[in-house]
């Protein structure tokens, strides 16, 4: 019973309290780039979740075999293999998604959420807990992406869930292809800027402010960059961000 309870906790923490995008500030590049529409966001989220669960399972299985000195390269190989598999699946079954995600599909390899969870969780915990952690983090990532996607799509294109047909095509032929929120040629037209790069930064900033506000109400600290605790390079990054030279760091290495 206690076991089950803690598994539920592992799953839930990824959704809100430790949401990878809005709380841990991981994976900002794919968040900004693939949230131009809800369908894109969903596709990216599902692809990343699949990779996250599979790599977490394998890394957790191998955690006693991989020597700690070469663990990062080993993790990268495992993650890259799963990314390649997912890439091939997407190319075969959802070619439209492959086209709209473009280079960001193979770039899941360097998504710091995945390497981060491998380093912070899967490398230290048993298989089932790691799988559940991967699922929770993946769903949290997808949720944050869809939030951004919804705001950007509704304001920028005037539609909601447009292009979902290509995603659903995996399960059969659906005629449903989203709603039109702002009809074309009406009194107001959509603000294209939200689909473009500046809109991405802006929406992310506002969402982050909202998440911070909610977190403060609960008495939690605000999200900060450098909360990349999981990233293997975080130590150097944090030193640089503080404007220190890394001489102390170098001395550590020398010893």
């Amino acid at each position: 019973m206690a076991e089950k309870k803690s598994l539920g906790k592992e799953f839930r923490k990824g959704l809100i309290a430790e949401n990878p995008v809005l709380r841990l500030v991981l994976g900002t590049c794919p968040t900004l780039a693939t949230s131009t529409s809800v369908a894109n966001a969903l596709g990216m989220g599902i692809a990343a979740t699949l990779v996250l669960i599979c790599s977490n399972i394998v890394i957790s299985l191998l955690r006693k075999v991989i020597p700690s000195k070469v663990r990062i390269p080993a993790y990268i190989v495992i993650i890259a293999s799963f990314v390649t598999i997912v890439q091939m699946i997407v190319k075969a079954f959802v070619p439209a998604l492959d086209e709209s995600l473009g280079v960001f599909l193979p770039l899941i390899v360097v998504n710091c959420i995945i390497l981060g969870r491998a380093e912070a969780f899967a490398g230290k915990n048993p298989v089932i807990a790691s799988a559940v952690d991967g699922l929770g983090m993946g769903v949290g990532f997808t949720m944050a992406l869809c939030c951004m996607g919804a705001v950007r799509e509704i304001l920028g294109a005037g539609t909601f869930l447009a292009g979902i047909k290509d995603l659903l095509a995996v399960f059969g032929d659906f005629s449903f292809n989203g709603f039109t929120i702002i009809p074309e040629g009406g009194a107001i037209s959509p603000m294209l800027i939200f689909i473009l790069a500046p809109g991405g930064f802006f929406t992310f900033g506002i969402l982050m402010a909202c998440a911070n506000k909610l977190a403060e109400k609960k008495g939690k600290p605000r999200a900060e960059l450098g909360g990349c605790q999981a990233c293997p390079m975080a130590k150097n990054c944090a030193l640089l961000a503080d404007g220190k030279d890394c001489s102390e760091e170098k001395e550590d290495k020398a010893v």
Binding site: A33, L196, F201, E249
Partner: protein, 196 residues
């Protein structure tokens, strides 16, 4: 010559890696507080991007494409880049200490930087030749540097500002990035028109 300039300017201005393509956002937000760290980081990025392209281009052409192994691109490239960065760090440390002191600390940060893997993959999708690939990589790196330098200036101004409480910290940084990115949209069509 004309096409070389075209590729360079496109990569720097109209298709700026950070502000238009969303690659390398982590260092852009994380290391842009101070001008000197911003410049150091971008220098290392330019260096590694050019080198990674020079190494992965022949690997892709003569090893992967020749043997119908294109699906291994992702896994091979990330390993090659990771190994390359380690190797470069060792070589610089041994033979070029001044350069190592300038760039060394930034090098390990770059292994998992999506901009480097991104530029290598984009060069392949765009079907550039060897020289064009290198030019595109250098241009992308220079664009990264331009964005970093501009943004570090914006951020140093932000420090003295009275920011509303709910926007303090990361949100205001993102919103400033949005405005900088908006200014880069002004370059849309510029390069095409110069060479038209």
């Amino acid at each position: 010559m004309k096409s070389a300039l075209f590729i360079l300017l496109t990569a720097i201005l109209t298709e700026n890696f950070v502000l238009c393509k969303f690659l390398g956002i982590c260092p852009f937000l994380g290391v842009s507080k101070k001008l000197n760290t911003a410049v150091g980081m971008s220098g290392a990025v330019i260096f590694v991007m050019a080198l990674a392209t020079a190494v992965t281009y022949p690997i892709n052409k003569y090893l992967l494409v020749a043997n119908d192994l294109e699906y291994l691109q992702t896994i091979v490239f990330i390993l090659v880049i990771a190994a390359l960065v380690q190797l470069v760090e060792l070589i610089l440390k041994k033979f070029m200490p001044p350069l190592y002191n300038a760039l060394g600390i930034y090098l390990p940060l770059i292994t998992t930087n999506c901009a480097v893997l991104g530029v290598v993959l984009l060069n392949i999708t765009k079907e550039y030749g060897f020289v064009d690939s290198i030019l595109n990589s250098v241009g992308a790196g220079l664009g990264f540097m331009l964005a970093m330098v501009i943004f570090s200036g914006v951020r140093s101004r932000l420090e003295g500002c009275d920011i509303p409480k709910f926007l303090q910290g990361l949100p205001i940084v993102l919103i400033s990035a949005s405005i900088v990115s908006l200014s880069f949209m002004g370059f849309t069509g510029l390069v095409e028109n110069i060479f038209a």
